[in-house]
Subunit: 232 residues, 2 copies
Amino acid sequence: MDIPARVTVLERVPLFKGLRPDELEAVAREAHERKLEKGEVLFRQGEDAAHSYVLGWGRLRLDQATPDGQNVVLRFMGPGDMVGTVAVLRRIPFPATPLAIEDCVILAWSAGRTAELMTRFPAIALNAVAVVGGRVEELQARLSEIATQRVERRIASTLLRMARQSGRRIEGGVEIPFAISRNDLAEMTATTLHTVSRTLAAWEQEGIVSGKRGSYLTIAQPHRLVEIAEQA
Amino acid sequence: MDIPARVTVLERVPLFKGLRPDELEAVAREAHERKLEKGEVLFRQGEDAAHSYVLGWGRLRLDQATPDGQNVVLRFMGPGDMVGTVAVLRRIPFPATPLAIEDCVILAWSAGRTAELMTRFPAIALNAVAVVGGRVEELQARLSEIATQRVERRIASTLLRMARQSGRRIEGGVEIPFAISRNDLAEMTATTLHTVSRTLAAWEQEGIVSGKRGSYLTIAQPHRLVEIAEQA
DNA sequence: CGGGGAAGTTGCGCCAGCGCAACGCTGTCG
DNA sequence: CGACAGCGTTGCGCTGGCGCAACTTCCCCG
């Protein structure tokens, strides 16, 4: 990717919102580039946070291993998302592992460079607070859900949230444009593969969602899902 | 509080770490001051985020109401914590309500002033990312816990986390220096008052924790609690 | 000092959903 | 093209801990 191409990518990244073209160019010049094939990891939980990243193309799933060896899916990330930036600024090891679920192109900056750019262009740092704040909000919402709601409602809320973040309108509903396994959903909603399977099977029966194995999940009747998510 | 007194407070606030004394003074000059009595709220969930705050003295409990009227305790906050800053920068309404559980003194800056100060002193913005990042980490940990662990382990983890954040060594163990009701604990661990009550009663029997109603909770045998939190 | 109310305790019964296990489907790799 | 591996489905039984309700204890306030 040459510099103008990078700028085109960075223009749409929330982290760099409000920067002038020449500033974006300066940021772009400092970046390294990295490609990741589906199935590879960008880094591993526990590693030293030497670089921060911005996802240019592709999708990542952010996994966190618990001390006792279980796995929790923290979030899915798409183009424009920042990765690892917080760990870099906090000078702590990466707290999770981003796994490529599609081929990805990623821009990287060293830890020192990251801090330096944010100091030089404070707007980046302000944007970073906003982005990370958004994650706090999402996590708080999930926490509330898990704390107070039944499994069925949590699955509904999770699907709606993913649709809102990454969904595409297509004929016949809203499509979530990457493969999510039942197990992924289970690990996002704090339940088991089995319960997710049963729930989705029921919803497919009723025509609320559809999507064969491997292909993308489509929410055919979002309003029905909203009803389920909101019912007392 | 005069300006030097404010500077003394701000010196110990993580958000302002690394600022020079003259910079701290500039920040202090821009602040408004606000007192809050026990039982009052600083602002209400849903209100427009017109100011950001730093807690000088006292303690707050941050509550979030769910759409269906339940309540979740997001966190307890103590001296030096920042409050509302994220909502200000994201230009969204406050997502939760901070309730004073002790008398508090709070410094406040208007939304515009907050952004301006962060731009003038980018170190503040970098610190803010780190602080908010810490919250993300804590929320992720709680999410993992709730998703994968039994109630007993979650309560143990929560108590240990609070002890780590605010605990005081005293003779006979570690004391959590503010009143936590069983209900608070229930709302933090995604369980019910009843289950918390039973669990703590059992632990008091075994001498792991102690603390009468109203007084502060003391963890007499932290290592036992760690065992419970870590056992498979 | 006595009455009211909030917070905490405890017993009991029930059920959502977990855990296990067996089976089915589908893509893929030799 | 056959067999394997990974993912998903489904049935079944069990149980953690929730929900309800009755009761106790403590604290505050008049």
